[in-house]
């Protein structure tokens, strides 16, 4: 790892100030991607601004069916929240299958979505739920937030502070994980929300997480796994790598979508 300077932020304002004072710095949340990347010398931020000790960034609050999850809330807390499981078990299940237990104790929802790894789970969950991403300066819809491979709408120095969503009527998540890394080779989050049916796919798209309009239309008229049987999945915009070619992933997208809907009930 190259040398770096560590700063522990005490508040959101403190963090933003530290970031603007250190242009080549990076926000550090759980570090489950960033520290590993730095170990490999694939990233070399001059400064790290640690967000884990900002009390207002951590925790889950539920008001009726409105859910707010602080950006520095670890995956394990989301997975284990009984209040959240009572109204949106799919997001708890999703969080409970990220990485491994040790990664889930450190990794955070804000870190995951700010990194927007094309094989990460949370981007599918938040896009599928139609969540709102709240930053230190504005609110963005998930549709606007995730813009490409490791790309988001976040501006220089902007940080995610929380995510909010309305608990869906029904939702399910299914993933086929890479047996070594536990990242999604394909993961599909399907939800019946107040704003309509939403189906989001991660791990498969050549440009990162995406919604599948064909699935959404089919499920709007018939919410069942069978309704997806005749919907085509275009392989031309899917990732291909040593683990799976695009056609294989196209099949996985459909199979995972069916499983997601079936698990939602």
């Amino acid at each position: 790892m190259y040398a770096t300077s560590y700063h522990r932020a005490s508040s959101v304002e403190d963090a933003v100030r530290l970031k603007s004072a250190n242009e080549e710095g990076k926000y550090l949340s759980g570090g489950m991607t960033l520290i590993s990347t730095m170990k490999q010398r694939l990233a070399a931020p001059s400064d790290l601004i640690d967000l884990r000790h900002i009390p207002t960034l951590r925790g889950i609050s539920i008001d009726g069916r409105k859910v707010t999850i602080g950006a520095a809330t670890p995956h394990a807390d989301v997975a284990a929240s009984r209040e959240l499981a009572a109204i949106c078990p799919a997001i708890c299940k999703l969080a409970g299958h990220i990485g491994d237990p040790h990664v889930r104790h450190m990794g955070t929802i804000g870190g995951s979505i700010a990194n927007n790894d094309p094989a990460a789970d949370y981007p599918a969950g938040l896009l599928g739920l139609g969540a709102t991403i709240v930053t230190d300066r504005r609110s963005l819809s998930a549709d606007d937030f995730f813009t490409g491979l490791f790309e988001t709408a976040l501006e220089e120095g902007e940080m995610v502070t929380s995510v909010t969503f309305e608990a869906p009527e029904k939702a399910g998540y299914a993933k086929f994980n890479n047996p070594a890394s536990r990242f999604a080779m394909t993961g599909v989050f399907a939800a019946k929300t107040a704003g309509g049916i939403r189906v989001a796919v991660t791990g498969a798209g050549a440009s990162g997480v995406f919604r599948h309009p064909g699935f959404e239309q089919a499920l709007a008229s018939n919410w069942s796994a069978d309704a997806l049987s005749n919907v085509a999945v275009d392989a031309s915009n899917l990732m291909a790598d040593m683990h799976a070619n695009a056609e294989y992933r196209a099949n996985l997208v459909k199979v995972m979508a069916k499983r997601a809907v079936a698990s939602a009930g």
Binding site: A3, H105, M106
Partner: protein
């Protein structure tokens, strides 16, 4: 150099290190506690698992400065008064190790798993709980057996205490 202060296995400890120093290297090289192992370069093997503020973490993927102020338990902190921790005893009894390199991480992971889900563990949940730990000798069967046996043993202990 930055001063890092930790409570390790119940004792206040501190040392100076670079900001880029990983927690596992701080524990091994500055504190001299070499039970925690480094088995890979890529955050995958789990040989370095310790508990930070009561939760299992990979100490190879956390900077020592990030951990400063926290409470750490390493494999050296498990056994009390010359008696093995029930999980350590179960690994010995059920031959849950061969070369032993992964064992500190396996044991710390098992203790965390039993802390969270003790009394309800099954072969399936134990195997899922070991997703972040790699063993190249045992084929895992005896590790799973050992953890289930320790869970049963500790549940009996809890009942007796009640």
């Amino acid at each position: 150099m930055t001063k890092v202060t930790l409570t390790v296995n119940g004792r206040a400890m501190s040392g100076e290190c670079e900001d880029r120093t990983l927690l596992v290297h701080f524990i091994r090289e500055k504190l001299g506690l070499t039970g925690t192992h480094v088995g890979c370069d890529t955050t995958q093997c789990g040989a370095c698992v310790v508990h930070m503020d009561g939760h299992s973490v990979k100490s190879c993927s956390i900077l020592a400065v990030q951990a400063s102020g926290s409470t750490i338990t390493t494999i050296e902190g498990l056994a009390g008064q010359g008696e093995l921790h029930p999980v350590q005893a179960a690994f010995k009894e059920h031959h849950g190790l061969q070369c032993g390199f992964c064992t500190p991480g396996m044991v710390m992971t098992a203790v965390d798993l039993i802390n969270r889900e003790g009394g309800t563990l099954t072969e399936e949940t134990v195997r899922a709980g070991l997703e972040g730990n790699i063993c190249r000798c045992t084929g895992y069967h005896n590790i799973v057996k050992a953890i289930l046996a320790a869970d049963a043993e500790m549940a009996t202990g809890r009942q007796a205490a009640e």
